[in-house]
Symmetry: C2
Subunit: 214 residues, 2 copies
DNA sequence: TAGCTAATGGGTCGAAAGACCCATTCGGCT
DNA sequence: AGCCGAATGGGTCTTTCGACCCATTAGCTA
């Protein structure tokens, strides 16, 4: 199973670049390794960061995103993003080697799903029912450590993140004995590879175990 | 001192809206309370969320951002954002009641500074040296609890967030005795209003005490 | 049916943490 | 000269935690 999907984003608007980077990075299985403002540096960024997925804006000053990617050797699975709703660039994007084409009006969870799909080798431009395909990729691919955490254990973690950390308080909150709380915690520690509540909190937040899906 | 600045964002591009919301929200003193895709709902959103600052894209389908805000009663301090670098809309924005005008090529920290400045009553359109003004608003306004945390105490917190939680390990990492570690922790607990390491970690991450400014 | 896991619970024990008292040193500021 | 806060350190005491052993029940599934 893939642990994290490495992403490079290219867009000439700093705000979108910053915002999108942070938004994608906050999704546990997505990792933005490079963000570039300049279309001419796409090739260099791809070579440097070796991303699993490349995200490119069509509208770029100087070189257009499309012509930029068409010249890249060993192009990773690439999603082209446009400001406009019309897919006037759709064919051009396909010819340049892109495997997906999205509007900037796409909701973030759908973009995330598209990223996971193309990272998995799918080609959105050659798929009839794109919506159905993306449905298969909605949920983040959790790390093996995280997905062995049971529902009850996640409840314990959520309490920890909410500031309920004493065994006694956890027991009251969850309507179980203090002993059971300790058993759950011990199980959590083992699965996350940590030794105490403080480390468990850090891991839970990093892995997104404290929230109920993006 | 203001605790958190309440922000409403209006932009017709879902991705930018999602990304920017999350990016701004992750800054400790900024709080995105509303994000709307439709320019016609700006007035309603302002009435509902009563933001301290309004962020509007000029280019919106149907109603333009500018004409939308010009019709709003009790307009909060408003920043107008545009895709284009040229400030062709600058005058129109001013006349509509905006107090700032930014390109989407603005770096995020500068946008954050602009938000703080206008929330503080400044008018960027009537300021000669905007850069100098924004410099005064670079750093997040920390909550009173957080800014009494000393540098050494923050080092302890950073270690905790990095997974170093045992007193012995903290002592080694920081080259001090275990007793001093305990003293720092006790001081942190008091300032953050918590009782143990796990809660301190949660608070530190929430307040952004674990990172070195955005 | 047999086997597996999740969830619940028990007990013990040593190590660790947290709460309280305190002192010293070094800056900066008044 | 005097004060204060930050950083360093000490001691003691009680509570809590984590590690290790264990059992029971329910539910699923092979």
């Amino acid at each position: 199973m893939r642990t994290e999907i490495r992403i490079v984003i290219a867009d000439d608007h700093q705000i979108l670049l910053d915002g999108l980077s942070q938004a994608l990075d906050s999704i546990p299985d997505l990792n933005v390794v490079g963000a570039i403002l300049d279309g001419t540096q796409i090739a260099a960024a791809v070579a440097t960061y070796t991303p699993d997925v490349l995200l490119v804006d069509v509208e770029m000053p100087g070189t257009s995103g499309i012509s930029a990617i068409s010249q890249i050797a060993n192009l990773p699975p690439t999603l082209v993003v446009t400001m406009h709703t019309a897919d006037e660039y759709g064919n051009a994007a396909r010819e340049a080697g892109a495997v997906g084409f999205l509007s900037k009006s796409t909701p973030l969870p759908e973009l995330a799903a598209a990223i996971r799909a193309v990272a998995d080798g799918k080609n959105l431009l050659e798929t009839d029912d794109v919506a159905a395909l993306l449905d298969d990729y909605r949920a983040p691919t959790l790390s093996s450590a995280a997905d062995s955490i049971t529902e009850r254990e996640r409840e314990v973690l959520r309490c920890l993140v909410r500031g309920i950390s004493r065994t006694e308080d956890l027991a009251e909150e969850l309507f179980i004995s203090q002993k059971t709380v300790k058993n759950h915690l011990a199980s959590i520690y083992e699965k996350l590879g940590v030794n105490d509540r403080a480390q468990a909190v850090v891991e839970a937040m990093k892995l997104g175990l404290d929230r109920d899906w993006d």
